[in-house]
Symmetry: C2
Subunit: 692 residues, 2 copies
């Protein structure tokens, strides 16, 4: 099926200064953890998107100076020619696939903690960082201002030499140029502070100098927050006014919203709280100030919505960070009318959590993200397995099982059966996606349902609970166990390293998350307590469910913050506020010492006892692998051999309960390596490191 | 002066299996953040200690497998031959200076979050990590056990080939071998769980296999916690029993205490809570179980104490991590009787805070730590400055000023004067070291006092407050301003980005930290509140001071944890408990909205108002640079030139308030680069990165 004519508008070329974008799909700068530390990974990752049809692919934030260094967060860098050589790998990959390459030249100002260089951060005025209270910047002198502007020019020159087509004078996310623009950060009384004109001067001069320096070699992009929100000082009127003042020098406006502080409303809004395109309320107003091309993000995956906002005239380019990670081939699939093959971003922000703190980027939907170079994985291309003549049985249609079966089928195995005790695919996703705010995570199932239906050698068998005999008698050459995990009923957990006294199976007043969400049980009475030792979405989600049904709910967690892991996915601040607004009382840094029918006995961080009076409790303690089937098969290798099962593997939570992203990754990996000498053992991955 | 004969015992050689240690000074494995990512930095850093006289220098924990990966924490690795090549640089440096090289082969088990490889961690049983609640391990099968043991053998072989003299079968800090040994972590019912014998089996077998494999090529060291404490399961009796069982196969026992969990009592105890050698209560008992050489740590810097414990027979080797960072030349200085030149560790744990999370190690006492390779700094060697004929005036004898003056004098400047308004050197350290628990930080002054007294071209001038005219008229060629910083009286800070209403100069009921600690003022009445927006030692310290004087004290902080930064220095958990035990009430995640004579108006994390009734307040808001002198000099370049001042520089807190470690670093850097083309601008440092 060709694409619908109403989407043709998305494939018009767009001129940005001296360069031409082949269509309207634009991968905006976003973090990866690769920087110039993993230049081949960087190149392969961005190159894959170029191959997938994006008109431009950009680096993450790219430091122009040793005074702008957020280590251990990994940015790209253009401090010297060696950095330029590293990034040239990326521009070459982009060009090879017909895309432009952009570089987001960055100075963090106050927010560059410079833990590596040990230099103090620079800022317009001496206000400490709201990140830690320890970091206090150096006030920039007029000489510093000229020098930093010159660093921008030097880095832009290096960028041109490295083959970049688009250079940013990046100023949003309350980095240095916004710090000058903001009367909250900027308290100067010289020509760079005070009036709007003065506060805009630093950035305008930097843009002018870069423009002069690069001439027509590159397009100049400016990333600006239309409104920095969160009391950060640059409100919409001044944001738009800045665009007007700079407009003549700029070829492309990359318009965002928000500030670093709090990360409450930002481009990377999680689906739990933000709908597709929610930022347009602010960023969509940039057209008032410019006729130049505008790119905005909005977690856009729906081509109708994309076409609508382009046709509406407010936006010229569909920007994407997360949707381009989730599906590097998004543009090409839309172009070719393969709409239902789009692997839509679920907005879980696993990518963000994996790209900070020196980690390696990963994606829940797309197991190949970040693995293009080091494992040689292509999201759309699957090599025929050397053992393609074999058949495989996958027991369990949860995240790992679905993914593994799809990969095996794409690799041409003779026949792949996925057998599940339930009626449908999805496994734990069936109930996880019913937790408040997590509905969009259902796209994990949606995408796989379509894939599975299309693969003639893949069959889903619902409603069958296989035991060891059933597996052995099934007739498959390869058996893969993906039976998942279950929450402990007795409260056994790794925090207190003991069960919770008073918890256990078969109690009406003490339930597990599955009993609530799958079996539909509810704690008795009007008052419930949720004990959370996980610290991610489960405890908070169950608390919301119980509260929505009218109960009084208290949430007790052993961690210093409620749902602490959600801070890594940019959900934490808003989630805690939501729980608070719902009237859920929260106890943090506390452990449950016992449960009885009258409530929970607990101890605070200093061991002081307290009591939560309630009628029932949900215990979110720890998951344990449901590995009985795998162990039964493993324990009888002779029977397995006699049954003709040549390979036995286990994947996902039934091996070790883990994040959904990692369970899918595990299933994918086994599928990719099913024809390796020992598929249960992952092959080594390529590492990038200094040679000696 | 030669060394005292009673210290001769420290310089006896010690045989460990097939290798000989030249003396009893042993640099135990410790983290750096260098790993195999910065192999040249690693080699230069360890090599400097070898040059300084240590008999052995060891790597940090060194992973034997992709299944043991704590990214973003940086460990060394011996996964392949390329890793071995990287570490060979270090063994060569060690040998060049006559030291043995050790490698701490490591498997983290449960605690290896494997964020890089994306494999699940391995463990004896399926208990979640107490670090995050998200990480749940895979239970090791018998095949896994054999495989991991084999990985130890393979890594040990690589280590021998790379030139290491000592290979560890590292098991303390509740890593994998301890997890097997501990009945808390190990719930197995097979031959590797249950009885002591069964729980010890994994580790004993691993030691045996490594012993067989390396034969006499290397000494075998085992690092074990005599007692894992903190409810981690291996108590002293079993710790000692393990030593007995393994003793025949082991050449060196490296005996520690404690567990990862909580980090409350561990080898790296901060001086705030732990005295030199406090661990001996446990580790000093290992002699009951073995006649083999024993090394223990204890932040030992006092040679009398060292000789005493060796002579006592319980310990053979003086282990050191932090004292060897603070002074790589500790052994040589003692050997040569240069006792008062020892740069004694202050136990602040800045090194630890800088070696985790992918950061670059640094040290408060020793500005050259970690800079040996990338900046070419040697702690004891100073090149004569090209402008040595010049004279320098340093205004301010705080951390940055003292350090800079010493470096300048050592670089041979004609004359260096340090002028301070106060009576003594030390600057802010004068009062910081009077905060409860921080007395040992006074060693920062002690060391520098001796150095300054010995340098004939360095003179301290007390009691003189110089203004701009005074500096210009002083007659120095180079003027260096090091006037420090002061806490804001009006409560201006980067968290709320506004002053605190009701705070300000000249109020009896609202004081700054300096008013309390330097001027000796006290808030009126019996009830005081400390408002802390810094989150490190100041607010908590002032609260303790006021409480010790009998006041009722409440502490309010904007951060989610009281003194959150102290968690990076391993002080946080104990500090909060101490404040609690002292009866100091704590409010976290809160901001002060106003102060009046009746108390503090505040808002919690959700904006809910509350009141703290008190008679007076100390505001620990933010420091501002005391840069008036520098600005006055800078603003009149003609006058400066007319006065013959050729160089004007500013260092330390008067440029940007920062950690003491970074202020000293800044002073040191200027001294090292005083003859560069523009000394105010740091020279670039060497970076280690993949080449393309």
């Amino acid at each position: 099926m060709p694409r619908l004519p109403r989407h043709d508008i998305l494939f018009e070329p767009v001129q940005i200064g001296p360069k031409t974008l082949r269509n309207r799909f634009y991968q905006v700068p976003h973090c990866t953890g690769f920087g110039v530390e993993k230049p081949w990974t960087q190149a392969a990752f961005r190159g894959m998107k170029a191959e997938g049809g994006w008109a431009a692919v950009c680096t993450e934030y790219c430091s122009i100076s040793a005074e702008s260094d957020e280590s251990p967060y990994v940015s790209a860098r253009l401090w010297d020619d060696e950095d330029a050589r590293a990034l040239r790998l990326m521009t070459e990959e982009a060009h090879r696939h017909g895309a432009l390459a952009g570089v987001e030249l960055w100075h963090g100002g106050l927010y560059a903690e410079t833990r590596e260089s040990r230099l103090p951060p620079l800022a317009p005025s001496q206000l400490s960082s709201d990140f830690d209270g320890i970091t206090v910047p150096r006030v920039m002198t007029p000489a510093d201002i000229r020098r930093v502007q010159q660093e921008w020019v030097t880095a832009a020159g290096r960028a041109c030499d490295a083959g970049f087509d688009i250079v940013y004078v990046y100023g949003s996310h309350t980095y240095l140029p916004s710090q000058f623009l903001s009367p909250v950060y900027n308290r100067r009384t010289d020509a760079y502070g005070g009036s709007f004109e003065n506060r805009a001067r630093f950035w305008l001069e930097a843009i002018e100098l870069v423009r002069e320096a690069v001439g027509d070699r590159c397009a100049i992009a400016v990333r600006i927050a239309a409104d920095t929100l969160e009391g950060s000082g640059v409100e919409l009127a001044e944001g738009l006014e800045f665009i007007r003042r700079a407009d003549a020098m700029v070829d492309l406006w990359d318009v965002t919203i928000g500030a670093l502080a709090g990360w409450q409303r930002l481009d990377a809004g999680p689906s739990r709280f933000f709908e597709q395109g929610y930022q347009l309320e602010w960023s969509g107003q940039a057209r008032q100030a410019t006729e130049k091309p505008i790119v905005v993000v909005g977690r856009f995956t729906d081509p109708d919505r994309m076409a609508e906002i382009v046709r509406g005239g407010t936006v010229d380019l569909i920007g994407a960070a997360r949707p381009s990670i989730s599906d590097p081939f998004l543009p090409r699939k839309i172009e070719e009318g393969r709409y239902d093959e789009v692997r839509e971003c679920i907005g879980c922000n696993a990518c963000y959590s994996r790209s900070i703190w020196g980690r390696h980027l990963g994606c829940t939907q797309n197991a190949t993200a970040g693995e293009e170079h080091r494992r040689g994985w292509h999201p759309e291309r699957f090599e025929r397995a050397r053992n393609a003549g074999q058949t495989a049985l996958v027991v369990g249609a949860g995240p790992a099982g679905m993914e593994c079966a799809i990969v095996l089928a794409k690799r041409g195995l003779e026949l792949v059966h996925v057998v599940d005790a339930g009626d449908d695919i999805g496994g734990c996703l069936e109930w996880v996606t019913r937790l408040p705010g997590l509905g969009e995570w259902g796209r994990l199932i949606d995408y796989r349902r379509v894939q599975m239906a299309r693969l003639p050698n893949l069959q889903f068998v619902p409603g069958v609970r296989l035991d060891a005999d059933g597996v052995r008698d099934y007739g498959a050459d390869i058996a893969i166990v993906a039976t998942g995990a279950r929450w402990n009923a007795d409260g056994m957990n790794g925090i207190t390293r003991a069960p919770i006294p008073g918890a256990g199976e078969g109690l009406a007043h003490v339930l597990t998350p599955e009993q609530v969400m799958v079996e539909g049980l509810r704690p008795p009475g009007a008052r419930a307590c949720v004990i959370d030792y996980e610290g991610y979405f489960t405890g908070a989600g169950i608390a919301e469910v119980l509260r929505a049904e009218g109960r009084e709910v208290e949430l007790l967690t052993c961690f210093d913050l409620v749902a602490h892991y959600c801070d890594q996915t940019l959900e934490g601040v808003r989630l805690r506020r939501r729980l608070h607004d719902l009237g859920i009382a929260m106890h943090r840094g506390a452990t449950a010492t016992a449960i009885d029918p009258e409530g929970v006995h607990a101890a605070d961080e200093f061991g002081r006892p307290f009591r939560i009076a309630c009628d029932g409790v949900v215990v979110v303690a720890q998951r344990s692998s449901d590995d009985a089937l795998h162990r039964a098969l493993l324990d009888d290798p002779d029977a397995l051999a006699a049954a003709g099962v040549e390979g036995l593997h286990a994947i996902g939570d039934c091996v070790a309960p883990r994040l959904i992203a990692d369970a899918i990754f595990d299933g994918h990996r086994l599928g990719r390596e099913i024809d390796s000498p020992d598929p249960s053992r992952p092959l080594p991955y390529l590492r990038e490191r200094p040679l000696v």
